[in-house]
């Protein structure tokens, strides 16, 4: 349909432009602040003309906060979460959509409930479990009297312990185990024609073969969209990494930005802080730009 409504067009573009300015203005100010020196950045009001110290500030921020290894940590964690989500969600949705087994609906609702309990809500018990993954089993054994029995018989005191604090697994696993992606896949799998499933069965492909050869390639747009969203989400995680990484070697870039924020009594080095922010913002930006084509296709359900 071709619409000829120049006035409406003008207003819609105006609204889009205003929205664009609102979104981009803060970033522009951050970038400008990052280019000033210590004196200019603390001028009130701050000059909106870019200064000349941009690269110097970037370098200072990089070395002060030791961003290299932290960006790597962040990347490992965000990539792990994204990959984990993409795989786990695909598998759970496959199970829910393609198999009939007792308790299927129960499983479905259990997964659904995790949506209502984000990490922030259950952060204390999650911390306890990550501090000692085997603690629930220990509790079960204690309650059932099993550990008492073992101690009596063998004289060995049962004390299970497997801590994941300050480890990549501890950072990644609790963030992977939620349902967000499952539903995206579920909706997509429901649109895959049954005949395709049947054709694969006639061709002799078993369930797993069908999953790997047919379903996964077909859902690559979904995977890209989910992967991108999850990468950004994990990259921007703050509370969880802050809580469980006490060791500098596992610190995340986002949480370490606070190193750059001027302390009370210290020099107000906001230009360095802003430069650091820009550096930390860059990897997610690159991911979005690279994945954009797939990303958009994955979120609009219909292809053809």
């Amino acid at each position: 349909m071709v619409e000829r409504t120049p006035i409406l067009n003008f207003f819609t573009h105006l609204i889009l432009f205003v929205g664009f300015v609102f979104c981009v203005a803060p970033f522009v100010i951050v970038a400008i602040a990052a280019s000033h020196n210590l004196k200019d950045v603390n001028d009130v009001p701050m000059s909106l003309l870019p200064g000349s110290d941009f690269w110097v500030n970037i370098k200072t921020a990089w070395t002060t906060a030791d961003l290299g290894p932290k960006l790597l940590n962040s990347f490992i964690m965000a990539f792990g979460v994204a990959a984990g989500k993409v795989i786990i969600s695909a598998l759970t949705a496959f199970s829910i959509v393609y198999f009939r087994y007792p308790g299927r609906m129960l499983m479905f609702w259990l997964i659904f409930i995790t949506l209502m309990l984000p990490l922030e809500v259950r952060i204390v018990p999650t911390y306890a479990v990550v501090a000692n993954v085997l603690e629930p089993y220990q509790a079960i054994m204690d309650l059932t009297g099993l550990s008492w029995l073992i101690e009596r018989v063998s004289g060995v005191q049962v004390s299970l312990s497997l801590g994941l604090l300050n480890s990549y697994s501890g950072l990644i696993l609790p963030l992977v185990a939620t349902a967000t992606g499952t539903f995206l896949y579920r909706q997509f799998f429901l649109t895959v024609p049954d005949e395709l499933t049947e054709a694969a069965r006639m061709d002799g492909a078993g369930a797993l073969r069908f999953f790997v050869d047919i379903l996964l390639p077909l859902s690559r747009n979904n995977m890209a969209a989910l992967g991108t969203i999850m990468f950004l989400w994990a990259w921007n995680q703050y509370l969880w990494p802050l809580l469980i990484t006490t060791d500098q070697s596992h610190a995340m870039a986002v949480t370490e930005l606070k190193q750059l924020i001027p302390n009370v009594g210290g020099a107000p080095e906001w230009h360095i802080a802003m430069a650091g922010t820009l550096i930390v913002m860059l990897p997610p930006l690159i991911v979005v730009v690279l994945m954009q084509r797939w990303f958009v296709r994955g979120l609009i359900a219909t292809e053809k």
Partner: protein, 366 residues
């Protein structure tokens, strides 16, 4: 090549029964068409043979082996689906070769066999394309290729031509027929299109309401329909049906308003029957001709080679197919004549065929 034996097969979905005990035997190398209106259970039956639906009761045996509990891949069947069901992300070659890949056939041999199949189906120049870039007829051929490459014992076709346009359908029909002659694998073809059924079948199975109504060659089914349903379902335009009662000297039709003299029906006087006559067997004569039924012309459809005349017989619709170049005006009166041998009698209650002219029915030549 394999024979298929179906014994007492039933299918229930929760509480509704869709197939009510079907017994059929398909000979090795035969091309069988299952014909029926939508919802008659024909596709369900096919899918039970394929192994895509569980069999609620009864047994299906392929080559004497009961396959009820076997997975589709263990039955030696290949299936062509209505919507082709090609894998959209794979090229034509990958689509055709997928079953071999699953079976672990080395890629050199696989490529060779894909080439061979593509040559038969004239798909060689399309092997690198994705299904999206193919026309309907080409997709259909790829779907056939995918079935052929496995060299199956049994070919199953689930209304494979219903998505094609009329011209392509005729073309694919003859291609399927040629292919069958060449491979001579047992084939079961499900359709609701009776022209497709008549032209393709060695043997026709007509189904209705989950039951088999008739099994026979297309000529048999056409000339001696076993029930009122088959009589009206096979043939276009449909067979004319007139309700009547058997009298001493023939039939009283349409509540007594018309009489038809018929010699020795052998049916008890007073029996309620439905009398059928094919539109092709009716001749139009001048009104008032002795023995002819007078009727009013409603509509004439020009078909080029002939025409269909729809007339009104005291409120009952009636059609005539004629190749004569007559053009009766709508509203005019014509006389209808037909031979006794062309009449089909069916019980008004059960719809079953009543045999009255056994000796005198000639085998029509199709």
């Amino acid at each position: 090549m394999a024979s298929i034996t179906i014994r007492g097969v039933k299918k229930n979905y929760a509480k509704t029964q869709v197939v009510h005990g079907v017994d059929l035997d398909f000979a090795s190398g035969e091309f069988v068409v299952i014909l029926g209106p939508s919802g008659c259970g024909k596709s369900t039956l096919l899918r039970m043979i394929a192994g895509l639906e569980e069999i609620s009761d009864g047994t299906i045996a392929i080559d004497g082996t009961v396959v009820n509990k076997l997975e589709p891949r263990e039955r030696g069947c290949a299936m062509v689906f209505q919507n082709y069901a090609l894998y959209p992300h794979m090229s034509v070659a990958q689509n055709i070769g997928y079953s071999l890949k699953v079976a672990g056939v080395p890629s050199a041999e696989r490529a060779q066999r894909v080439q061979a199949v593509a040559r038969v189906l004239e798909l060689e120049h399309l092997l690198d394309r994705k299904p999206m870039a193919l026309s309907g007829g080409q997709r259909q051929r790829v779907a056939m290729g995918r079935a052929m490459i496995r060299e199956p014992k049994v070919f199953l076709f689930d209304e494979p031509l219903s998505n094609l346009d009329a011209k392509l359908r005729v073309q694919m029909r003859s291609e399927i027929r040629k292919l069958h002659r060449r491979l001579s694998a047992t084939s079961v073809f499900v359709t609701h299109d009776q022209v497709e059924a008549m032209t393709l079948a060695d043997r026709l199975v007509v189904m209705n309401g989950g039951r088999v109504e008739q099994v026979g060659t297309p000529a048999e089914v056409y000339s001696r329909p076993a029930s009122r349903f088959v009589a009206t379902f096979v043939g276009a335009p449909a067979m004319n049906m007139l309700e009547g009662t058997v009298t001493l000297d023939g039939l009283s039709l349409l509540g007594g308003s018309r009489k038809l003299n018929v010699s020795r029906t052998g049916l008890p006087v007073g029996a309620k029957v439905a009398v059928g006559v094919r539109p092709e067997a009716v001749r139009m004569v001048a009104p008032g001709t002795p023995g002819a039924l007078a009727a009013t012309v409603d509509l004439v459809e020009e078909l080029g080679a002939g025409r269909v005349v729809y007339v009104d017989l005291d409120g009952a619709p009636f059609s005539i197919v004629t190749s004569e170049t007559v053009h009766p005006e709508p509203g005019s009166t014509v006389g209808l004549q037909f031979a006794e041998a062309d009449l089909h009698f069916f019980s008004s209650e059960t719809g079953a065929r009543l045999d009255v002219f056994k000796a005198s029915v000639p085998e029509p030549v199709l």
